[in-house]
């Protein structure tokens, strides 16, 4: 999940030279929220707030052409299809928020479990609840300090969320989830089971009744 930070390092490099006397004292903070749905797509919301000097330079570079953010995100996530970009600025608080959907972020692996690749080794993960985890990373980028907080929320139906590693030692989350399964969904399953039960009861009751008639 550190890939967003790599992206931001590009921005920081662009305006680092003019702001280094400020941003070292207070690290730039980046918040990334990952919301996974039952079909493995994710809604991602990145937000960043800056000090006055950083904001001034941001507006002169990226801020004057925010679609560059979209392109950078597409390069940051080359493995997915991104859509529904939405960019908002909070000028009074010198911040921006970029949200988008990443299709196919979670996939079903050969064991039939859902898998989310984190693309980093030994991330610092904190479990907030069974379906909510936070990854924190601090790193220097472009001579400045960056604090990135990734908050991942798994879908409502998810269970057995676990951390695992791939063959190269990269971290991943594994979890179970069923988005509804077969062709008729839960309605056909429930109705089918109900009819089976009713039919069985009727069948059992009919036998004694017929025996009584024969007597």
């Amino acid at each position: 999940m550190k890939k967003i930070g790599i992206l931001l390092s590009i921005f920081l490099c662009m305006f680092f030279l003019k702001t280094y006397s400020q941003d070292l004292i207070k690290p730039a903070k980046l918040n990334v929220k990952w919301g996974l749905n039952t079909l493995g797509d994710a809604h991602i919301e990145t937000s960043m707030s800056m000090d006055a000097a950083q904001w001034d330079n941001y507006k002169k570079t990226i801020g004057s052409n925010p679609d560059i953010l979209k392109r950078q995100m597409e390069r940051t996530f080359p493995g997915y299809f991104l859509q529904n970009f939405n960019y908002k600025e909070d000028v009074m608080n010198r911040g921006w928020t970029l949200s988008f959907d990443a299709l196919g972020l979670s996939r079903i692996n050969s064991k039939g479990l859902w898998q989310v690749d984190l693309n980093s080794k030994n991330p610092d993960v904190t479990k907030l609840s069974d379906k909510n985890y936070v990854l924190t990373s601090n790193y220097a980028t472009g001579g400045s300090l960056m604090q990135e907080i990734d908050n991942i929320t798994f879908p409502d139906g998810a269970s057995d969320v676990k951390q695992d590693k791939d063959a190269f030692g990269k971290a991943m989350f594994i979890y179970s989830s069923s988005p509804g399964g077969g062709s008729g969904g839960w309605l056909t399953l429930g109705l089918g089971a109900l009819l089976l039960i009713i039919g069985a009861i009727m069948f059992v009751r009919v036998k004694p009744a017929m025996a009584a008639v024969k007597k």
Partner: protein, 544 residues
Amino acid sequence: MKSKLPAIICLAAGVLLLAFHFLPFGKGSLNVTIKQASYIMPAAYKVYANSDALNGEYYLFKMLMNNDGKTTLSDVKVSYRIPNYVDWTDLETIPKIYPGQNAVVRCYPQFKDDIVNKMTQSQEKVEIKITYNGSQTLNEDFKFNMMGRNQFVYTDLPPEEIASYPDMFRNDQLVGCFVTPQDPIIKYYTQQIQEKVMKGEEASVSNKSDDAVKFLMGLYAATYVSHMVYSGTEGIPQKLGDVNSLVQSTRLPREVVTGNTGLCIELSILYASVLKAAGLHPIIFMIPGHAYPGILVNGQYYAIEATGIGGEGLGSRASPADALKAGMKELNEFIQAAQSGDNRYSFIDIDAMESKGVIPMELRDDEFLRKKIDDIAASFSGGARTVPRQPESTLENNNVASSGGGGGSSMSGYSGVVSFNYPSSWKRYDYPVAQWPFLVAEIGSRDGSSAIDVIDLSGANSSSQAIEYIRQTIAKAGRYMRYQYVNSNNGYDIYRGTTSSNNGTREWEAVFRRSQNGIVGVTIGGSGFSQKQNMFNSILSTVR
């Protein structure tokens, strides 16, 4: 029997519904969206093959598969081929795609090593086969441009996406694919230089700046005495799918050596290849319309103007010393431009790019080319001695951006953001630590016991803010600084302090004043501060 009928109907209906739920009845439907590369550069085939290289952004295609039917698709297998290049290859088998689910498959093609023998451009086709639910099949295909091995496409962005100069040269990060230190021909050439030009060298072993610069000059000398000349190659704008880009025909280092001619970027790539083969840390500096090679050693950059070889037809040829001088002058301009935020000035750190997966192509040994190297190397021993015996003196002089009046024969002058005099035997390094752009220069005694640091901290509002920033910055490098404000005199704020590191503790004195852009000043100090205080005071008294 009649009375059993409702029960049987209920049971049958229940079984049918459950079967309908669990078994894959109904029609599966797969909707496919493909995003493809407009072209493939054979020189970068190892980048295209590696999903981790450069964050995986150089893929052949990625495909979004959406199940827009009402039933779960099972065992969705995706395979592809590129006729004449890649046989049918399975990419991935996805066990299930639920109704409404999206699944993404990426293709990082494994081209064979002989792809680097492809000399000209052609249009090729990718065929994709998707099988699912055991028997259902979907076929897709698209075309792309397969470039020749020498062709370098500068960007992969469509024209409407280009917003800045770096966008036009987006693929500069792939230049490292042309840097071929493992090429047997380049290794052989490097050995010839080490033996016949350098008469032995230890730059990669000693890790001394002087030795590294000496090698840089030796390499230039090798091209100089072999009468290598500067010459252009084909560069034409092309439309490749959605992309419009300049396509440069770039000769490989072995072709530059054996052809004895090269363009600025080709010479830079040759230098990077030989420097890396010799165990040094090569850098290629990219500026508008030009490129030149250099090295990074002990945190300091050095550069040489490789095109100084010129040629008789071009009117002039620069000696190794002059080429180094020109390179260092360009490097100073580069640093100033980069510091001012000019994003047209960038550099390629070959080692750093290699760690990101930019791996050069495989090239095979060639007896004919080795003989060509032998012929070229014959000129090395017969040529004039061009490598200086004492490169450090040349380096010291060349590294001086501008010299002031000096202070007589035993003193030299520094003139920059501040000016002052210092002992002429001391060595000067401009921008000695790349990560600390505020450290404009360091001038130190030869025994390393004393040093002057020139500081230029743009953006700082006060000397206290500047010194606090410096304290925090150097703390990250394991140097712990304590300081105290002494007083202010003639517009200068004076501080005294100590800096501790693994190498011990050094005392220093610093003077800072306001400049147009921030705070400038010098620090002076070292070990045995009290014994040298008179000398330090005399230097500080010349600060203007």
